[in-house]
């Protein structure tokens, strides 16, 4: 092949590549804007690949699955009651966000999922949650369920020996947000300014009304 031939081949290759990219995005487009899927729970039809079915017991005694609060945006925080520092701080913050949002916060479902089901029984969680906004539900997965859930939701948790015969739990930090279609839509960081958090929450709720 002559030099010119190579050049032509390269140009055609580039054009073909661009067309392929346009076709790819074109194909995605209608899926994102036109399709109105039935209210899906986190991950049921997730493009982020975060989410999936689960069954847990709430601190109220109620059984909660991915379908129970589908159609609402979710906040999800991993924690445990033997965590004195960031867990109560995060839940207290969440309580104050809900206070600021007022009745708009009813449009969100917030969960604390314990990563320490061994010590956090439903009774322990029921007592613990009386200290925070009553709209936050604490969920206890059975230990095998926690493993499955963590995998599906890409959550990290690990039991770490601590002191003589104690242990602590390493766990995913921050509050995970899921939109009303069950799609993972970012994380709220404890250290970000409050205004940023509140506007992220309003956007999460607003999504509901505008689309």
């Amino acid at each position: 092949m002559s030099a010119m031939g190579i050049f032509r081949a390269a140009v055609w290759g580039l054009i073909a590549g661009c067309v392929a990219i346009i076709v790819y995005f074109g194909a995605l487009q209608p899926r994102m804007t036109n399709e109105l899927p039935p209210a899906a729970a986190a991950g049921a039809d997730s493009t982020s690949g975060i989410g999936g079915p689960f069954t847990m017991t709430a601190h109220t005694g109620e059984t909660v699955t991915e379908a129970t609060y589908s159609g609402k945006p979710w906040l999800m925080f991993m924690g445990f009651t033997h965590c004195p520092d960031i867990c109560p701080t995060t839940l207290a913050e969440m309580t104050s966000w809900f206070e600021e949002l007022g009745s708009d916060a009813d449009l969100i479902q917030a969960f604390l999922v314990t990563v320490d089901p061994e010590r956090d029984t439903v009774d322990v969680l029921a007592q613990y949650m009386t200290s925070f906004d009553e709209r936050i539900l604490a969920l206890r997965p059975a230990p095998e369920e926690l493993e499955r859930f963590a995998k599906a939701f890409k959550i990290h948790y690990e039991k770490v020996p601590f002191g003589e015969d104690d242990y602590t739990m390493d766990h995913t930090a921050g509050v995970l947000m899921f939109d009303s279609e069950g799609e993972f839509s970012g994380t709220l960081d404890l250290h970000e300014p409050r205004d940023t958090t509140i506007s992220k929450l309003r956007r999460l709720i607003g999504k509901d009304r505008t689309t």
Binding site: D85, I86, L91, S131, F162, H171, A173, G174
Partner: protein, 163 residues
């Protein structure tokens, strides 16, 4: 062990818990506890967190050996680090070094006191005496305010923070 210690120290400095003091405070030549708060635990939680700001205005480094109070069964110094989105809590390296003209700012998601077995009758709004013992044998007493759970210590800035 040394490696772990270095790692922790680096993490503490990276998270901004140790801040160097600016000129205005360099004149002070003592160690003072500037703010002391203990957050009441949520109902049924076995332990609570405490936060101090320890200011070392002297030229020399000081090192905290222990924090003690007759009102609690145990007080230990812990570090929470958040790395790659994962929160972990570990015992802090003891003695805990505070360089000269620097301060240690404890805060949620950073260095904190983990406090267990409180005496009965402690309530938000009250206060409790804490003794901070240093490796040179000195003790600085602080009066810690009891604040509601999750109570974030007020953002505290007076030195130039070299983060």
């Amino acid at each position: 062990m040394l490696f772990l210690r270095l790692g922790l120290t680096a993490a503490i400095i990276a998270s901004g818990s140790i801040a160097r003091l600016d000129f205005a405070f360099a004149a002070e030549s003592e160690v003072v506890i500037e703010e002391a708060k203990i957050a009441m635990p949520p109902r049924g939680a076995p332990s609570m967190a405490g936060y101090l700001v320890i200011r070392n205005g002297s030229d020399e480094a000081v090192a905290v050996e222990a924090v003690e109070s007759e009102m609690f069964g145990s007080i230990s110094i812990h570090v929470t680090t958040i790395e790659n989105g994962v929160a972990s809590m570990r015992p802090a390296p003891i003695p805990f070094q505070i360089p000269g003209h620097s301060e240690l700012q404890m805060k949620p998601g950073g260095v904190h006191l983990m406090i267990a077995d409180p005496s009965a009758g402690l309530e938000a709004g009250g206060s409790v005496g804490l003794d901070v013992r240093f490796t040179d044998g000195s003790v600085v007493r602080a009066e810690a305010e009891l604040v509601p759970f999750g109570g974030r210590p007020a953002d505290h800035h007076h030195g130039a923070s070299h983060e």
